[in-house]
């Protein structure tokens, strides 16, 4: 579900009680006895860890290139002040799963693309894509996205397909839908609200005035 315990009880270093933390962990007094050495904050962090599913191993993409893919999807949709980016949204795992169900030419296209990206990064900056600093990443991204509307080189094509998959994977993820878009639908509503001008008021959401 979109609304997690941590959304309802935002963890604050000051406001959190041990009982809240234990409830978040879903544990009783027995568990508390087993975890006496953890501070309240530590307990909450531990509960966060428990709730997070263990990261699956990539099915198709070799681990070395998986890091490249994670860096690339993050460069396409990065974390910012509003929300985590494509890496935290596990977009690389989404793409890996997609590839595990794709035919050989499509898989080859991606693996070749990742190799080419690392080669390009290495030839320009001496390190693979995943190890580039922010400025070099930006330089390379600018280069491979230059002909986005009509890609010419294989690397430019690879940028386009990765971008499309990243957009789809990210905006269908929990992070993309709830944290980034702050999408508010798909819940039980007593009444659909709509623009408040429909109810004869000035609308704070769009600034339109009530009809006279």
């Amino acid at each position: 579900m979109g609304c997690t315990v941590s959304d309802l009880n935002p963890p604050t270093s000051s406001g959190i009680s041990r009982r809240t933390a234990l409830r978040a962990l879903g544990a009783g007094a027995g568990a508390a006895a087993l975890l006496p050495w953890l501070s309240d904050e530590g307990l909450l962090a531990f509960s966060e860890l428990q709730r997070r599913p263990a990261p699956p191993k990539p099915k198709v993409i070799p681990l070395a290139q998986f890091g490249t893919l994670e860096a690339l999807v993050e460069a396409i949709l990065p974390a910012d002040e509003r929300s985590p980016g494509a890496r935290d949204a596990r977009v690389a795992y989404y793409i890996d799963l997609l590839l595990s169900e794709s035919d050989e030419p499509r898989r080859a296209q991606w693996l070749t693309g990742l190799t080419a990206l690392d080669a390009e990064a290495t030839s320009r900056f001496g390190v693979p894509f995943g190890k580039l600093d922010a400025a070099s990443t930006d330089t390379l991204m600018t280069a491979i996205s230059r002909n986005e509307s009509a890609p010419v080189t294989p690397l430019e094509t690879f940028f386009n397909i990765t971008k499309q998959a990243t957009i789809h994977g990210y905006y269908t993820s929990e992070i993309g839908i709830h944290k980034e878009l702050r999408y508010k639908g798909n819940q039980m509503l007593v009444d659909f609200v709509g623009c408040q001008t429909v109810d004869g008021k000035d609308c704070p959401h769009c600034g339109q005035k009530a009809e006279i």
Partner: protein, 605 residues
């Protein structure tokens, strides 16, 4: 994939139950007054009207029963699975371009060989267990994006919920512009039945006093959201209306139905509404009819033909092939009602060949299959509405249907280039998926923030244009190709004509004109129609009329040829305006059933 709970939804119980029903319901185990073929809008309404009147009804459904609790996954998030609602690897739906370029039957194409199941374009993670396998159910001829569902409730399980009435402009279209013929009945004949359908099933909407979309008996309407109000105010200055969508969804609840509750504003009705606020035939019609004790439903029952008693020139029943066992059995009844959808109903009639009716039952006129009509879709426009660019998202999609621009061409004016008209459906605001994101240029924080910026402001409108009922647009039986049960299949000979193409041009121009007037940014217009059939609004292949030489049924949807066979779906419709078809099917079917009940009472059926 085996562990994907959005794929493995547990249909074992309902499949076993369906097989059990099929095993236990045989021609020997019951006696029925009326056989109804199909269980969607048409078959469901027919069964409901008859069973509630104490008439013993056998509904024959080609697919299985449905487990709405498991199968209507209304609120499932895309991240319920990392596969993100992608189809299983052994299934595939036909892509839009493939309809025009892949040879028929679509299922024979080598590119689709590796898939166990090929769905029409309407197949998705929610509907894939309902729509037919094109490999088992081929069609031939010209491109046609037909959508068939073999499941209790048929296509009503995922219909678009547009609940519009035909009005005088449809029933008397020929009087209006001189093309073709009028219906043999008028809006006043059907109006009381539209009213009854509104009350029985629930219809959300607003009174607008527009002849082109007559008002109904409405429940609480949905409201326009911010971008839509902005758009509405702009086009009002052009004399055009933008009204809350009319939905076959109960927003205030319905009486006498324990299976349904009122709308809770979640959207997503097209997956099947697990509150049953959206009209779906199983819970709205079939289950209540079954509770009367007068209805038997036999699933897995593929009706091959209507059987004729040559001596009396009356139908004696239907021939069924069991979808699983392939056992052939003849079910008998006093009356046969066909409600399998216009196309499948016509196919059954074509396949009902006898010495008396060598070209198919009902086809003495030779015009059966002709006058196939539907709505041309695909012309659409989109843009970003200024007041909402860069704002925080609001809840914009928690309602059954988006707003509606009623037809504004050839209502009071006369267009030089084309007759008849079109309407637009569509709205805007923040949906679950930012549809415009894939077109945003760039990468990085700039990309992310521009998606965020434009996300709440999107508006998008799609046109529905009347396809003229023309004799040359027709279906027939393919002389060679049969389905997986050996039954001859339909061959299409259908094209959009000159009137449609001129109308399409006007649609593209007016949608652009309206978006421009509304001050939309980045306006995009699509000029090309979608493949024929896309609207799933097929009508007219067994048209009604007073003259048996020029029509298939009389004005009560009864075959001229055989007096105890009635058509409950849209096959007898003469012309279909621009309005979505389902509400008219329901109203017309109710009217037909009232007539049938009178005939049965009088001993004439």
């Amino acid at each position: 994939m085996q562990n994907d709970k959005t794929i493995s939804i547990g249909l074992g119980d309902i499949t076993r139950e369906s097989r059990r029903l099929a095993m236990t319901i045989t021609p020997k185990t019951g006696k029925w007054d009326v056989i109804v073929v199909g269980s969607g809008a048409a078959g469901g309404m027919a069964a409901f009207q008859l069973a509630m009147a104490g008439i013993k009804v056998l509904v024959l459904e080609a697919g299985r029963m449905i487990d709405t609790q498991k199968e209507y996954r209304t609120m499932e998030w895309p991240y319920a699975s990392m596969r993100r609602h992608r189809m299983p690897t052994d299934e595939r739906s036909i892509g839009v371009a493939e309809y025009n370029f892949v040879d028929r039957p679509y299922g024979n194409h080598p590119g689709f060989e590796k898939y166990r199941k090929l769905n029409s374009y309407a197949g998705n993670t929610f509907t894939r267990n309902w729509v037919v396998n094109e490999k088992e159910n081929p069609t031939t001829g010209t491109p046609y994006a037909g959508v068939r569902a073999r499941i209790l409730g048929g296509r009503t399980n995922f219909w678009g919920r547009g609940a519009l009435r035909y009005g005088p402009l449809e029933f008397k279209a020929a009087s209006h512009d001189g093309f073709d013929v009028d219906w043999p009945i008028s809006y006043d004949d059907v109006k009381p039945y539209y009213d009854k359908v509104d009350i029985l099933l629930g219809c959300s909407g607003t009174k607008e006093n527009l002849t082109q979309v007559p008002d109904g008996i409405f429940q609480r309407p949905s409201k326009l959201n911010c971008v839509e109000v902005e758009f509405k105010r702009a086009i009002a200055k052009m004399g055009r209306h933008y009204i809350p969508g009319r939905a076959g969804v109960t927003t205030e609840g319905v009486l006498n139905n324990k299976y349904r509750t009122r709308c809770m504003g979640r959207g997503r009705c097209g997956r099947g509404c697990d509150l049953h606020s959206s009209f779906h035939s199983p819970t709205a019609l079939i289950y209540p009819a079954r509770d009367s004790g007068n209805l038997t439903v036999r699933p897995y029952s593929i009706v091959k033909e209507v059987l004729l008693d040559e001596g009396t020139n009356r139908a004696s029943g239907v021939r069924v092939i069991d979808a699983n066992t392939r056992e052939v059995m003849d079910f008998k009844a006093r009356v046969v009602v066909l409600g399998a959808g216009a196309l499948e109903t016509t196919r059954i009639l074509f396949n009902s060949k006898s010495p008396r009716y060598p070209n198919g039952m009902g086809n003495s006129s030779g015009i059966m299959g002709s006058y196939l009509s539907e709505h041309m879709m695909g012309i659409r426009g989109s843009g970003f509405m200024p007041t909402r660019i860069g704002k925080e998202p609001t809840l914009d999609d928690g309602r059954p249907v988006p707003p509606y621009i009623p037809r504004f061409r050839n209502v009071t004016d006369r267009q030089k280039d084309f007759i008849r008209g079109y309407h637009f459906q569509g709205g805007g605001g923040s949906g679950e998926y930012p549809g415009m994101a894939n077109q945003m240029p760039g990468y990085g924080k700039a990309l992310k923030s521009s998606i965020r910026k434009y996300y709440p402001s999107m508006i998008s409108l799609g046109g529905f244009g009347e396809v003229l009922p023309r004799k040359e647009n027709r279906i027939m039986l393919d002389p060679q190709v049969t389905d997986a049960w050996g039954i001859p299949v339909l061959k299409f000979d259908f094209k959009f004509g000159d009137n449609e193409m001129k109308m399409a041009k006007d649609m593209a121009a007016t949608v652009e004109e309206m978006l421009t007037a509304a001050g939309a940014e980045s306006i995009k217009v699509v000029n090309d129609p979608l493949p024929p059939g896309w609207s799933i609004h097929e009508i007219g292949t067994a048209r009604m009329g007073d003259d048996p030489k020029a029509s298939v049924t009389d004005k009560y949807c009864r075959l001229h040829d055989v007096k105890n066979v009635y058509l409950a779906d849209a096959s007898p419709f003469v012309s279909g305006g621009t309005q979505n078809t389902t509400w008219s099917i329901l109203a017309m079917c109710w009217r037909t059933m009232d007539y049938l009940k009178e005939q049965m009472k009088a001993g004439d059926a």
